[in-house]
Amino acid sequence: MNTLTYLFQTAVKNFWSEKRINLLTVLTIAVGLLIISAFALITLNIDLTLKNWSGGFGLVVYLKDNISAEEEGLIKNHFKKDTDITSVNYITKEQALKELRQTLGSATHLLEGFESNPLPASFELKLKRESLTPAGIKEKAERLKQFQGVEDVQYGEKWLASMDSLSKGLKVLTVSLGSIILIALAFVTYSTIKILFYRRADEIDTMKLLGASRSFIRLPFLMEGLFIGLSSGIIALSALFGIYAVTTAKTAELIPSIKSFAVFFPPAAYPVLPLGGALMSLIGSLFAIGRIKY
């Protein structure tokens, strides 16, 4: 116990006695953690935005004018059984015409040639995000077309395909760039701590010659690494929050809607950065000290 207290004090002393260079190390690692967490936050926000967009996506089932109540019942029943469908919205012929008028805007005169309402009634279906794959939707559409009373089934094939590839591309980018950055930062941490401890090789030698055990030598270094990582994490978290606040405020001047969908990490995730930093530095220190041979 006494020895542990001493080793802890030693770590604090060592940290303090080289405060300038330790501060540099802390800031370096903090900057690294900041980059990776900023990256994670941006990814999170892009992902949420994509989810929002694709939440508006669905299938439209156009009904024949002469559909029977029984046929309509069968179709509705099918919707109920399909767990991928999250909402069903019935659009009457009149609503459809109204919507078309709105969409056409100033070109509404195009509709003047019609004697009766040419538009069909329809069901608008919304699907779970997970089910929004081009192949899956196509299959669903084909099945719905088989029903009696269904005139046609439409969905944004092209849009869906590009949305899908955008989402996939983004995932590839996120994972590859993210892991590059992660590896890079693990490396920067290791390297910084290695260089920092390299100076102490003499000191370690002396301790060995005085009969210190491996753990006696290592513990202060590991604790120092832990402090460094922990402080880095706390600094990174604060900086990230600051930058997030400033950036959203600034961006809101250009895109006011940003405030409604930009998010920060949930409070439960706050400890991740300090603890992650501490763990990373701890492992970095462990490698940096290396094998102690007598």
Binding site: N14, E18, E203, F216, Y294
Partner: protein
């Protein structure tokens, strides 16, 4: 008991020590002397297992240092106090903490450490420098701190490598008297030195090394 049997140590194919056979009894007070590069420091290093023999065996307290497991080395070293020729003080801690370190390693508690360190500092007249960092000490003061660290843990064996090289004759005398006291309490004492005034006419055993070999042995 320390025993060298036909020991050689090579650096870059040159022998720093060759075919040394030597027995040092428990409680002895012995000097190693000889010109620069004769192998004095190397001989001491073999005792505290900082070097392993390339030929022959070195045994310390019954243990063959050449065959010692890594984990056993610190335990051997904790029974040996060493005054290093280049002092080897930790630059980032005070004189007090440098000396206390030798006790920390033994897991002794802080109160006892404080007492012991202060006692040692008092006995060598260095109390006023307790809270200085090594780089703020004079050469002799650094050497005194190194001596204090070697003796504070009351080791079974005390190795001192040129312990008076930076000391004035008066202080050197004080140190030698202190060493003698320690030796009388049962500590085996091995001093490597050029400073023949330390052993001239003392009746102690002196080993003369030359080019890695034992040239002669006397009881002055």
């Amino acid at each position: 008991m320390i025993q060298f049997s036909d020991v050689s140590k090579f650096y870059d194919n040159e022998a720093a020590l060759s075919d040394i056979t030597l027995t040092i009894e428990k409680g002895e007070h012995i000097y190693i002397t000889g010109p620069s590069g004769a192998g004095k420091t190397t001989l001491l290093k073999l005792i505290y297992a900082a070097e392993r023999p390339d030929k022959g065996t070195v045994s310390v307290a019954g243990q063959d240092t050449g065959k010692l497991k890594q984990g056993a080395v610190p335990f051997l070293r904790r029974t040996i106090g060493v005054v290093f020729q280049d002092f080897r003080l930790l630059p980032n801690v005070t004189v007090f903490d440098n000396i206390a370190l030798a006790l920390r390693i033994h897991g002794i508690d802080s109160k006892e450490i404080k007492e012991n360190v202060n006692d040692v500092l008092a006995s060598i007249g260095m109390k006023h420098k307790a809270h200085e960092f090594p780089r703020h000490l004079s050469g002799g003061e650094q050497q005194m701190a190194a001596i204090a660290r070697a003796i504070v843990s009351k080791p079974n064996v005390l190795l001192a490598d040129e312990p008076t090289g930076n000391l004035d004759p008066g202080t050197a005398d004080t140190i030698i008297k202190l060493f003698r006291e320690i030796n009388l309490r049962g500590t085996t004492l091995i001093i490597a030195t050029h400073h023949d005034a330390l052993f001239k006419n003392t009746g102690h055993r002196v080993i003369y090394l030359k080019e890695g070999k034992i040239e002669k042995e006397t009881k002055d």
